[in-house]
């Protein structure tokens, strides 16, 4: 069942085209990987989905709603940046932030934060100053902050780009767990092909702002429809 439908999306900054003619459907409870070289428009695409950028042209439908309310829709999703911004607060207060702005009761906040910290393996670090965490811990804390209010859609922008292999494995396990246990729909922007093989259900290849192919994971790796997809996946594309 489709959760998001994107029609004819077009975006440019000044004279530079960033995304053009994007047509895509995102299904419920899937991990959709958006892959492509750096600077190809993946981050802009996620920012548009999260209303941080307004596209020049195109329609986005969330749950069948053609003109969704920004705050209501945004509150049903979460965007995790490649380098998370950390508030100058404790780990607990950082993770609790999304619940606090929703006016959730204190007791429930405590339970939810502890649960989220447990999922990312940061139990017992609630009181620590968040800005003293290591890179991997900070990314996991940001992950806990993003999932603490059970978003329907999780937008991940290169969530493991700057992490060591052990933390990459942990983050990937968390992504799979969130999808399986909570039924969260995940859109993952990455250029990490092995990661796509490990966790994605469907894949879209974005090249120079154009979505050149959307396929199942198996399809994209065994029989890509577009020659450029094959070249990118096999690492033969120079960019």
């Amino acid at each position: 069942m489709k959760l998001i439908r994107i029609d004819n999306l077009y975006m440019a900054f000044a004279d530079k085209e960033v995304l053009r003619n994007i047509n895509l459907e995102i299904h419920q409870e899937e991990i959709f990987a958006l892959i492509g070289p750096s600077g190809t428009g993946k981050t802009t695409f996620l920012r548009i989905l999260n209303f941080l950028e307004k596209p020049i042209k195109g329609d986005i439908e969330y749950n069948g709603m053609t003109k969704p309310g920004i705050l209501d829709t945004r509150r049903r999703m979460s965007l995790l940046f490649q380098t998370p911004a950390i508030f100058n607060k404790s780990v607990f207060e950082n993770v609790a932030y999304g619940l606090k702005v929703r006016g959730i009761e204190k007791k429930i906040v405590e339970t939810k934060v502890n649960e989220a910290l447990n999922i990312v393996g940061l139990d017992g670090m609630e009181k620590q100053k968040a800005r003293t965490l290591s890179g991997g811990e900070a990314q996991r804390m940001a992950f806990a902050r993003a999932i603490v209010y059970d978003p329907e859609i999780l937008l991940l922008d290169e969530p493991t780009a700057n992490l060591d292999p052990a933390n990459v494995t942990k983050i990937e396990e968390i992504i799979k767990r969130i999808k399986n246990e909570r039924g969260t729909t995940i859109i993952l922007a990455t250029h990490n092909i092995p990661q796509v093989r490990r966790i994605a259900d469907r894949v879209g290849i974005l090249l120079n702002g154009e979505l050149i192919e959307v396929n199942s994971k198996e399809g994209i790796f065994s029989s890509p429809k577009d020659a450029r997809s094959k070249a990118f996946i096999n690492g033969e594309m120079i960019y």
């Binding site: 999260n50 209303f51 941080l52 705050l71 945004r74 509150r75 979460s78 965007l79 940046f81 380098t83 998370p84 911004a85 508030f87 100058n88 932030y97 999304g98 702005v101 929703r102 902050r145 993003a146 209010y149």
Partner: protein, 244 residues
């Protein structure tokens, strides 16, 4: 008497005046703190919302407002003094307030002088908050009010520095308050020195009048108090800049 003896005697007498809590010196210090403190509080109450409005909102005349703030940061105090004086004299547009040569007039002049300074430094402190912090507030479901509150928290040390800079400037200011306040002390000698108790006489304006009268020890005592305050404010400002 050599010039060194003259200076040493002046300093010794100055310390006596300070440690004996001389009423004239204390009243001047009190007026300085009251006037500069009130002006700083009022300027802060204006400057912080103004800085946030300029940083977060898009409105007509925003660029003109920024230019006014930037110009205001370098306003010559004597010009502000003259401007306020012309506004509040009985025939001026604010003459009905009847505040010429009062502390209220001095507060008004200092308010005009330091509001742009506090606003300008606050804007810089707000701009220093990474855009990613504000965007994270939005991505986590926060509203624009939440973004403002979070920015205020992130920029708090910069904002405190701005307020302290404004207070320091107000405390050290002399030209404007001399014109609108008149440097008045109640007549009658208290403790054998000075002219009684301060009405609109501050540390800075008193230094000018006492020096011109040749009362060097009183000037040094006032100068020591003034420099201690300014030093204390700067130490605080440096501390908060360090925390930032």
């Amino acid at each position: 008497m050599s010039s060194i003896d003259f200076l040493v005697q002046g300093i010794i007498r100055a310390f006596e005046l300070i440690f004996n809590l001389n009423p004239y010196i204390m009243s001047i210090t009190g007026v300085s703190i009251k006037v500069s403190g009130t002006a700083t509080i009022l300027a802060t109450l204006t400057a912080i919302p103004l800085a946030f409005a300029i940083s977060f909102l898009h409105f007509r005349g925003k660029q003109a407002l920024i230019t006014m703030v930037n110009t205001g940061m370098g306003l010559p105090p004597v010009f502000v003094g003259l401007f306020v004086f012309l506004m509040i004299v009985p025939v001026g547009p604010l003459g009905f307030l009847n505040i010429v040569y009062t502390q209220e007039a001095m507060i008004l002049a200092q308010y005009i002088l330091i509001t742009p300074i506090i606003t300008g430094i606050c804007i810089a402190a707000i701009k220093a908050v990474p855009q990613s912090i504000i965007e994270t507030v939005y991505t986590l479901g926060g509203t624009q009010n939440d973004a403002v509150i979070e920015t205020l928290k992130e920029a708090r040390f910069g904002i405190i520095t701005a307020v302290l800079a404004g207070f320091g400037r107000a405390l050290a200011e002399v030209g404007a308050i001399l014109i609108v306040g008149g440097n008045i002390a109640r007549t009658g000698s208290v403790g054998g020195i000075g002219e009684g108790l301060s009405q609109t006489r501050t540390l800075t304006t008193a230094i000018t009048s006492e020096t011109s009268k040749g009362d060097i020890s009183t000037s040094i005592a006032l100068g020591l108090i003034l420099i201690s305050f300014v030093l204390f404010v700067n130490i605080l400002a440096n501390y908060f800049q360090g925390r930032d």
